[in-house]
């Protein structure tokens, strides 16, 4: 447990030392939201608002998660293998990505409502959906970037691998957030929320189990 928190702290330190990556993501968020604001002027239809938001979210998620494993060079890889337990290593990366992704998604939502206008009626449900989606997305994407990093660090490979696997997750998130935007009662959206939470568990469990096998390279 202690080693785990140490590892997470290490990730945070790395991130703050190289502010460039974080700054890059922030610029990306602001830029995409700004462009959509320019093009759409005022979004009338909630479906369009929803779709655009999730597209931006998806690209940010892929960008953020790809950076986490791409930084591991050959030398660091050997060091990691010798010193760290694989389970703790992947868990630390997943937890770090989850936290980062949650913060970034909230930021995205903030900028989005600032520039384009918020249409959300049930804010609580929407934020819940956002947080659980970002954790599930980061779980899947961490494993995918681990796989891609073993296969010669190809960023486009990671995108190709991740998009189909993310589709079910995306669908549930979009449905849930659409319900939140329309302000439907909790009883209707309940099952989607449960599926999202269940997917979270499934994804994290699978990722930790499977990472052992990737570790041996």
């Amino acid at each position: 447990m202690q080693l785990l928190s140490q590892l997470i702290k290490k990730e945070f330190l790395l991130e703050f030392r190289q502010k460039s990556t974080l700054a890059g993501i922030l610029v990306y968020i602001v830029a995409t939201v700004f462009i959509s604001a320019l093009c759409f002027k005022k979004i009338i239809h909630p479906t369009v608002w929803n779709a655009l938001f999730w597209i931006i979210f998806m690209f940010i998620a892929v960008n953020v998660s790809s950076k986490s494993f791409m930084q591991e060079t050959k030398g660091k890889g050997l060091f990691n293998y010798l010193y760290y337990n694989p389970r703790q290593f992947i868990l630390s990366k997943i937890i770090y990505n989850m936290l980062l992704m949650s913060v970034l998604s909230l930021l995205t939502f903030f900028f989005y409502s600032w520039f384009v206008g918020s249409m959300v009626q049930d804010m609580g449900m929407f934020l819940l959906a956002l947080i659980f989606s970002s954790s599930a997305f980061s779980g899947v994407l961490s494993l995918m970037s681990a796989i891609a990093s073993k296969a010669n660090n190809n960023i486009s490979l990671m995108a190709i691998l991740s998009f189909p696997v993310l589709m079910p997750l995306l669908l549930v998130s979009v449905k849930l957030s659409k319900h939140a935007i329309d302000g439907l009662a909790w009883s209707v959206s309940y099952k989607y929320l449960l599926i999202l939470i269940m997917l979270n568990f499934v994804v994290v469990a699978l990722a930790t189990l499977l990472f052992n096998y990737l570790w041996k390279e």
């Binding site: 494993l143 796989i147 010669n152 490979l157 998009f163 189909p164 599926i195 699978l206 096998y213």
Partner: protein
Amino acid sequence: MIKWWKIASAIIILYSIIWGLINPVPHLDILNETIRNVYYHVPIWFAMLFQMGYSVVFAIKHLSKNDLRSDIISDQAAQTGLFFALPGLLTGCMWAKFTWGTWWTFQDPKLNGVAIAVLIYLAYFILRSSIPDEQKRARIAAVYNIFAFVMMFVFIMILPRLTDSLHPGNGGNPAFGKYDLDSNMRMVFYPAVIGWILLSLWILDVKKRIAILNHEKNEQ
């Protein structure tokens, strides 16, 4: 000679073709005679799911025992499954055109599910082709296979049950349910499913032997 189950598969499918067209079926609106598609379209999907499941089982086997033979079987099974998805999709489109009025729709979760499944396995083959080293490729591909199968299974099996669907038997379609097949139809349907699964296993068997022969030739 040829194994018994291969001959059995051919005979069973032939039976389902002949008897399936002559057999009396329930008279239903919208579907009319096309209800007979159940004998052909549905078993192909069962065969595909079976092959994907076979592929995952051998992926797990490879990870636990670390022998290349399991990986070869896993790869060939995924290819066979994808091969069966093609007639499944085409026959589904044709059937849809005549009963639902459109070739494709994005509203039905089962259709989305199979589209995603095809994309996932295409990504699996791209992953395989991007790693030259054999051992590494086998291991990484097995990891992705397991992960992708679980996601696909959730998507195809679980989500359609919860939402509305145009497909008969799920959601709100009154045409016919999976569980009120006429007993006449059952007599052709269940053997047809077994027959097509056995046929897919035959095709897998041939492909697997070719792959193993190639592998052995490359080792020398």
